[in-house]
Symmetry: C2
Subunit: 250 residues, 2 copies
């Protein structure tokens, strides 16, 4: 349906203080007085087409990035050669922070659709951090969040059924929508079924089957990649409740 309006692409060359994402992004951590410092550090590039790489695994680490519009996935190629999706990043979210180890990116970042990103050279961020304590603290927090997030994924992948994993992913996407002041119940999935499957450690067919079942059970409404979560609370309850307890009443 409505694709990304080309108009938004022009906005790329704007400054941080005029950016619509400023309430989600680094400006949060910087007082208005210091905004020009931050602004000077940010490089704004031409948008990336679907499938093109913002950075690639094993390239020397230079910058971290923030999604400005569109969506990005990070993938790592394992020793066996197969590709594993580690995360999806939506507007206002920073990625590339895992690259610092060993001075090389440990994953590739690929645009899921035509996407604009802001690039921030990390050494500039480090310098700024020394001058702006709030920024330093914010960066530590961001990285800490990435750790928690990756751990959360690990938990999801270890002892959860296919349905639980998918619900959990949808709820995460939902709350990230809400964070951007968008609908928490209706949105468009930026990734293909196969990418959902890969991310959740499932087979593509399993994802498809679970989605069909959830649709039949009136938990969601699906139309291609457009999704509607029909009862957020019910979904949340389903994650919380120990399946063992279901039998007791029956």
């Amino acid at each position: 349906m409505d694709s990304i309006p080309t108009r938004s692409l022009h906005a790329i060359s704007s400054s941080c203080d005029r950016c619509s994402l400023s309430s989600l992004c680094l400006p949060l951590a910087v007082g208005t007085g210091d905004m020009s410092l931050l602004n000077a550090a940010v490089k704004r590039e031409t948008p990336y087409d679907r499938g093109s790489a913002v950075f690639t695994q094993d390239a020397t680490f230079e910058s971290c990035y923030v999604v400005k519009s569109g969506a990005v996935k990070t993938v790592r190629i394992s020793e066996r050669g197969d590709e594993k999706i580690l995360g999806f990043y939506l507007p206002g979210e920073m990625f590339g922070l895992d690259g610092l180890t060993g001075e090389r990116y440990t994953s590739s970042a690929i645009a899921l659709e035509r996407s604009a990103v802001c690039e921030i050279p990390f050494h500039r961020l480090e310098e700024l951090s020394r001058e702006l304590p709030h920024l330093q603290h914010y960066l530590f927090r961001l990285m800490s969040q990435e750790i928690s997030g990756a751990e959360q994924l690990g938990m999801l992948l270890s002892n959860n059924t296919a349905e639980e994993r998918i619900i959990s992913m949808f709820l995460t996407l939902s709350s990230r929508q809400a964070r951007r002041k968008l609908s928490a119940t209706r949105f468009r999935l930026p990734m293909a079924r196969g990418e959902i499957a890969n991310f959740l450690g499932l087979a593509l067919e399993t994802v498809s089957r679970v989605l069909s079942r959830m649709q039949k059970q009136q938990q969601i409404r699906l139309d291609g990649r457009d999704i509607e979560l029909l009862d957020l609370d019910a979904l949340q309850r389903q994650l919380r409740q120990n399946p063992d307890f279901c039998v007791a009443t029956g």
Copy 2:
């Protein structure tokens, strides 16, 4: 057999520059001139008994920690109430870095055996970081490593068989032994079978079975928690090689 000698407990009150782990730990990032600054920030406490908590989930975040002797696991309680082990930490390794988000620890840290740890109040680390650029960079790297590590666990849990997970875990432990200049092929597992299982997203029985099989196939020698890896290269090859390729020659 030989438990931790009580002698080592006295060494706790020593300073960073005299610590045997200084080549693995924060002193790495600090010049000898600034060592006293770091040293003043570190609190050294009485050791923790097996099963006792260094910090607990949801407590307010204050400090990060380094294992001085013994071993520590971090665990998170899920919404469903079950416990998931997120990582094991050996001497020289820092933990508690995931706590920064939201000002609360997102996991608990439990001693696997009688363990000594160094505590470093995080706000002190932040202050020091501003004065010592190397330390700041080192901290960013450490956190970045934690992200990579957690992602690596995620990869392991998504598309790998029980045997691959276990081999991978042993190889990781092996290389961490080597980092400490200890034997890469013979060591003692600080965790129980059930803890290995939990960490790897398997059932306890599956771990036990795989270990027995590996022992029969002369890949490892086991005696309780003492383990010997009989052919590191072979184990590594087993992870790398795509199982599909094995059939081709048969």
